[in-house]
């Protein structure tokens, strides 16, 4: 197989989930090619190489510097044909999902998404996909000659030991019709750890009583380098921004540790966090359903436990 990996850049840096995708592709076939769009910081190409890519196609066309779903899909389909790629690997994201679906139609490739493990090629080509919002898995066979895999975040660990990649400029053809959507503004929290990518997440629920009490959540998050999240009622009441809302109808996270503070653990909330490696629940009600899904629990008042936990962590650092 010849693999191509769509690598996303965020403020000049390669997204961790994209390095997971490169590592995944390298495990399927040594020395995959990566494709990146736009300006990229010094040293970042080497990270792509370290994760296993032998070559990087770098698109430097100004018109493709900012994310454009249709144009990126055209460029990636063109790169697949130029490179003879029969496998495209990418991380699931607000850009990766629509791009992969469009490339699937353009190239006739079979597409599996929410992939959580390396493929089984002993009989055909099968991958394990997370379904029912993390409540089950489907072993999915891809029938097409070309295949596209959308990886769930944090399902694969990043390789860091391969070499430097060969970087090649790639100038894809311009398709006028790909520029129909005009992005007039991109409002983005900068400098924050992005929730969907985060290794560690601290989330607060209605038990925190009001937005003015989020200081201790942010302090705990800052101390351990975590992203902050919340339950649905919390974002519905505008205590926190919508992009922090975790669950069935919000962001699905898969960190190594999810800390839930003052969240009851309704099934719709659990659906967004059940891919976490470890869950710590802090709740004053020992009957809260979240404890059934937790690895560690503290039954107590968040207003006492959270500051004390932050202190204990600082002491141990």
């Amino acid at each position: 197989m010849a693999a191509l990996v769509f690598v996303e850049i965020e403020e000049g840096e390669v997204k961790k989930s994209s390095l997971e995708a490169v590592s995944y592709a390298a495990a399927v076939q040594e020395g995959p090619t990566a494709i990146v769009f736009g300006a990229i910081n010094d040293g970042e190409m080497d990270k792509i190489g370290a994760a296993g890519a032998a070559k990087v196609l770098h698109v430097t066309d100004d018109q493709l510097a900012a994310p454009n779903i249709m144009a990126y899909a055209s460029a990636i389909a063109e790169a697949m044909s130029k490179e003879g790629s029969d496998l495209l690997v990418l991380a699931k994201s607000s850009l990766g999902d629509p791009v992969s679906a469009r490339v699937a139609i353009k190239t006739g490739a079979s597409l599996a998404t929410n992939v959580v493990d390396l493929p089984d090629t002993s009989d055909g080509f099968k991958v394990k996909c997370s379904i029912y919002t993390g409540k089950a898995f489907a072993i999915t066979a891809l029938s097409g000659e070309k295949k596209i895999l959308g990886l769930k975040k944090n399902a694969i660990s990043v390789k860091e030991d391969a070499g430097s990649p060969a970087v090649e400029e790639f100038a894809p053809a311009h398709v006028e019709a790909d520029f129909k959507v005009k992005v007039t503004e991109r409002a983005k929290a900068t400098g924050e750890i992005l929730l969907p990518e985060a290794e560690l997440v601290v989330s607060g629920g209605r038990g925190l009583k009001g937005p003015e009490n989020w200081g201790m959540i942010e302090e705990l998050a800052k101390t351990i380098g975590a992203a902050t999240g919340c339950s649905k009622p919390v974002s519905d009441m505008d205590w926190r921004p919508h992009h922090e809302h975790v669950g069935q109808t919000g962001i699905k996270v898969s960190p190594s540790l999810y800390i839930a503070v003052g969240i009851s653990g309704a099934i719709q909330h659990l659906a967004g966090v059940n891919s976490s490696k470890y869950i710590l629940v802090i709740n004053k009600d020992e009957e809260a359903p979240f404890f059934k899904a937790a690895d560690y629990g503290v039954v107590g008042d968040a207003f006492e436990v959270v500051p004390k936990l932050t202190e204990a962590i600082k002491k141990a650092q």
Binding site: S110, F137, V298, I313
Partner: protein
């Protein structure tokens, strides 16, 4: 304004998920089916747009006869007619081909879907339909305003949002807070009974993937409770047992 809304027929969000026949079939025993929650947002926004701009709403589902009550509910909420493509929705490609075929014939101004189905969580069908029809597709859409032939949209991205403008027609995958879910009223339920339900055969049997077998995640062990007065122990466990700090 002619709007096509594509809806899924999925287990209610509180359903217990399990499988039968050696884990090859979803176990429907005791499961309540609903309009997919994101599709419900799409339908709600369609009803609002119809109220303010006039026009009509067609709801579409690719599914077997069992999905008709779900389509009827969409009619009760405010759709004018329903189309059911009589086939098991094998995968996103299969579904997208059926939707694109119906959509091409209907010359819709707007094709609204949910951001993702809550069974397979693909988030693929809208982009596939867009590509098959040569139309833009935008998802997940939190704000959708129409002014003449132009739409102003806000799309959620990681850690923020994108504001965008585009011309009709296009495909959008919707999510909250685009509109408030609508609950059918008595008049809606009565009139839904006589609204047209058109059943059509699939136009293509092409698929890209198939599920061989389902698996359940491993059971969680019991929670380890730590005394709130002994948080050093918790830090130690997180550091040395879970190795996450």
């Amino acid at each position: 304004m002619k709007i096509l809304v594509c809806i899924t027929h999925v287990p209610d969000t509180t359903s217990k998920i399990s499988f039968t026949d050696n884990n090859t079939k979803f176990d429907k025993t005791g499961v309540q089916y609903i309009i997919g929650p994101y599709d419900d947002y799409a339908l709600a926004r369609a009803v609002e747009l119809k109220e303010s701009l006039g026009g009509s709403i067609t709801v579409l589902n690719v599914g077997e006869a069992e999905t008709e009550p779900t389509l009827r509910k969409a009619l009760a909420i405010g759709a004018d007619d329903a189309v059911r493509i009589n086939a098991f929705p094998t995968d996103a490609l299969f579904v997208a081909k059926q939707i694109a075929h119906v959509a091409k014939d209907g010359s819709y101004d707007l094709i609204l879907m949910g951001r993702e189905s809550i069974d397979f969580n693909g988030g693929q069908v809208h982009s596939m339909v867009g590509e098959l029809m040569g139309l833009p597709s935008v998802s997940p859409v939190m704000v959708l305003d129409i002014d003449g032939n132009t739409a102003k949209i806000q799309r959620e991205i990681e850690g923020g949002k994108e504001h965008m403008e585009l011309e009709l027609p296009f495909v959008a995958g919707c999510q909250e807070p685009i509109a408030e879910w609508k609950i059918p009223n008595m008049r809606g339920i009565m009139s839904a009974r006589s609204k047209p339900m058109n059943v059509m055969d699939p136009v293509s049997d092409e698929t890209g993937t198939s599920v061989e077998v389902y698996e359940m995640p491993p059971e969680k062990g019991a929670v380890k409770l730590i005394d709130p007065d002994n948080l050093d122990e918790l830090v130690d466990l997180l550091k040395n047992e879970a190795k996450v700090l």
